[in-house]
């Protein structure tokens, strides 16, 4: 049996830890200093999207609106230079969209209203709370599931990797000051799902290696596992990135934030499933004793396959 080359992933684990810590510090620092550029969903306020037939001039629009007495108006291009997004903190005014449109069409007649949104401040605040709680509940439940299915140290490793990914993705939005809206929150939660997927695949292999390979050297065993799953980790990340790029390039402005968040999340998630989860396991001194199979049989895997998925012949085959 020819043993393929084992990559010494864990040899770089101190450097990786340093990189992670730097990224985390930058993220948390940025969150503390400049916070997130929350979108309308979270802050409340009014938001109007208008479309022009020919390229629009944002500063003209800003001036028109400011002269008309609107305060705190943010005017920016939305996706291309014919679409303009206008945000303002305006109290509940049912005619706001029409008023703004009337003002703008006085200046230029080729303007049309594309979208008009108003969110009350209490709704926004609630959403922020709910979003935070949702994330914590997700992390908690996942930790419990892994602790039951694997072992407590794996749960810590997985949750550390998840928290790492979530903080860095949110930190990315803080550093770049991209709008953080509801779809981005959905993406962050999807990152939890994705990164978890990755971490579990790796953990699963680490568990298997610890049980089946005789050599009692945790660093070696983790390296073997990571090498074995490397191809799948990279390929899955690649296919996911392919669709995310398609979504980001062709999906339009409304879900751009979503695809950016997921792209960052997938990149970080791939890195963290290799370096964070495994690193934590080593730091917690994972040993073979932790993973003594509770069952007597040594092939744990086949036992857990439900009957409908196994071939009746297969079992006979195993007995041979």
């Amino acid at each position: 049996m020819s043993e393929p080359k084992i990559y010494d992933f864990m040899g770089a684990r101190r450097i990786a830890a340093a990189i992670s810590i730097v990224l985390l510090v930058i993220s948390i620092g940025s969150l503390a200093v400049q916070g997130l550029n929350f979108g309308l969903d979270f802050t409340g306020g009014a938001q109007i999207e208008v479309g022009y037939e020919d390229p629009a001039d944002v500063s003209d629009i800003r001036q028109t609106l400011t002269e008309a007495g609107y305060r705190d108006v943010v005017v920016q291009y939305f996706g291309n230079n014919t679409d303009v997004l206008i945000r303002m903190q305006e109290d509940n005014n049912p005619r706001l969209g029409d008023e703004v449109l009337a003002l703008l069409s006085e200046e230029r007649s080729d303007v049309t209203l594309r979208r008009n949104e108003f969110v009350g401040p209490q709704v926004g605040e609630e959403l922020r709370e709910k979003g935070g709680i949702g994330m914590l509940v997700a992390l908690g439940l996942v930790m419990v599931y892994i602790a039951v299915r694997f072992q407590f140290k794996f749960a810590v490793g997985a949750v550390a990797a998840l928290a790492h990914d979530v903080v860095i993705v949110i930190g990315f939005f803080s550093v770049t000051q991209m709008a953080f809206d509801l779809t981005v929150l959905a993406a962050v939660l999807a990152v939890i799902g994705y990164s978890l997927n990755d971490t579990i695949v790796v953990s699963d292999r680490i568990r298997e290696s610890f049980r089946t390979i005789r050599r009692d050297d945790p660093v070696y065993l983790v390296n073997v596992s990571l090498t074995q799953t490397l191809a799948r980790t990279l390929i899955t990340s690649l296919t996911t990135l392919l669709v995310l790029i398609a979504l980001g390039v062709f999906g339009g402005e409304l879900i751009r934030g979503f695809s950016v968040a997921l792209t960052v999340g997938v990149l970080i998630g791939t890195y963290s499933s290799i370096y964070v989860a495994a690193n934590v396991l080593l730091a917690m001194k994972l040993s073979k004793e932790d993973l003594m199979p509770p069952e007597k049989k040594d092939d744990v895997d086949t036992e857990e396959i439900p009957a409908w998925l196994t071939d009746p012949e297969e079992e006979e085959n195993e007995k041979k």
């Binding site: 979208r115 969110v119 939660l189 899955t236």
Partner: protein, 617 residues
Amino acid sequence: MLNKYPLWKYALIVVVMLFGVIYSLPNLFPADSAIQIRGANAGLEMNQTTLNRATDLLEAENIDYFGAEIIGQSALIRLPSNEAQLRAKAAVQRGLGTDYIVALNLAPTTPDWLSSLGAQPMSLGLDLSGGVHFLLEVDMERFIESRLDSYSSNFKRNFREENIRYRSIDVMDDNSIQMLLADEDTRDAAETWLRRNLQGEFLTEDVEQRGLPGLKLTLSEQRRAELQDYAISQNQTTLNNRVNELGVAEPLVQRQGANRIVVELPGVQDTAQAKNILGKAANLEFRLEARGNEGEVFPLRNRQGGRGTAMLEDDIIVTGDNVTDARVSYDENGLPQVAVSLDGEGGSRMGQVTRRSIGRPMGVLFIEQKSLLQGYEDVNGEPVPIYDTVEEKEIISLATIRGAFSNNFVITGLDSAQEASDLALLLRAGALAAPMQFVEERTIGPSLGAENIRLGVNSVIIGFALVILFMVAWYKVFGVFASVALTANLVLIVAVMSMLSATLTLPGIAGIVLTVGMAVDANVLIYSRIREELAEGRPPQAAIDAGYGRAFVTIMDANITTLIVAVILFAIGTGPVKGFAVTLSVGILTSMFTAIMLTRALANLTFGGKQLKKLPI
């Protein structure tokens, strides 16, 4: 022999795929522009005569149409274009008058054999179809306060009648009622009275204030929840009635959380008008029937469809603001009646009037502002609807006063349970509802909706194509299996979503795209395993088997945890995020089937039972 599926597994896969194709098929048929006509109230049935009147109106205006049919309670007329649809709506609404509601609609073109199987297309969310979304919040604090006010005036009157001497009964800032009583004995009497008459509605607590014994009453949790439910459902009913007036084909009025109501109006663009109609009030007036000729004549609502009139006095006894509740109940003979409750102020006025008016009929007048579509005005080439506001007044009940009453009374002499519940509904609709305010509003233009669909579909196709290209290049024949599985997965997601009548939103499409990316993960896991097994020197058949077997547990664990996240997303999310969570969960479940069972079946069919030297993977 290794890698052979029993026949039933192949049969199962064929059946599931057949099911997937049939139920996803309706989404491929584009919908027709149409108008939908239905009676303004439940009693008015749609029949062929009315439909003929509508089509005659269209012909008179030279508007082409194709297909006019009656479906249940409403009629559907299909039109060739969006523009014809608007003109048709205006023409038919004008011609048929206020008895009918004419709404813009999209008529599905699902072939009969598909609809007979229950297959129907997915409905599109507002971000894809265009329309208005409102979130209204019921002001519970003010509602509860007004209920407490009415409780406290009831207590005062009841205590006077029972000779329970009180010094003061006040509603306090902390939403409690404080009563100060003359002495300890009176307090006991008050407590006994409260226990007997208001079982469980209040929690009582002894207090001592200004040297007087007192009681502090706080609403019990249960009663509070009941009141909140009542306020929400009452507002919901009212909103439903008003949304009907707007002439929207598939409006949604739904409770969200403890104190909010979501209203979604697909296709509506005129937000301001929609808000005016949703926010306006109906009212009630209780008046005696006029003796002689001094008074005002109003139409009398009549369940037989006839239109009588009655003359009412100009003096108003109480208005809807004083009505706190109206419910259907039954008398000892099992006949339906409506029990009406008034607040303290209304009750005492009612008492004074009824004492001297026994034997005279009293009418309940229902007043409503209605907005009627008059037609469309051409503004810069775009049709802008013109509405006319009229006040409609109608007597909904005229009944003889049998004896003096004040706060609580019943209206009897109703013919059926249906009539009783109609009357109760109208009374409640006109009654003082808890105040509501708009807390969220979103309008999506129809062009943006169409653009979102185009963008979404494009990114699904492109993402899909990229993944397939990669998989085939990387895993060759097995990559083809994975691609077939991916396609099958897409078909199944659409089929399941259509069956659940789930709403497709833009984030929902994003969810599908993401599932495409992640669903291949199962195959990647399996194939990597197979390659490893081959590298370790296993024969090809054993490698396939071991690859599937060992990867299975990993796939399960990974998918279950992702599912946990999707479920949480569904629980905390609103509209768009929910859409994402639904497609993600459906996608995970269907991908388990396609990525494991379907690809295995394909591999078995291609390679199973053969002597293989090498595996093209």
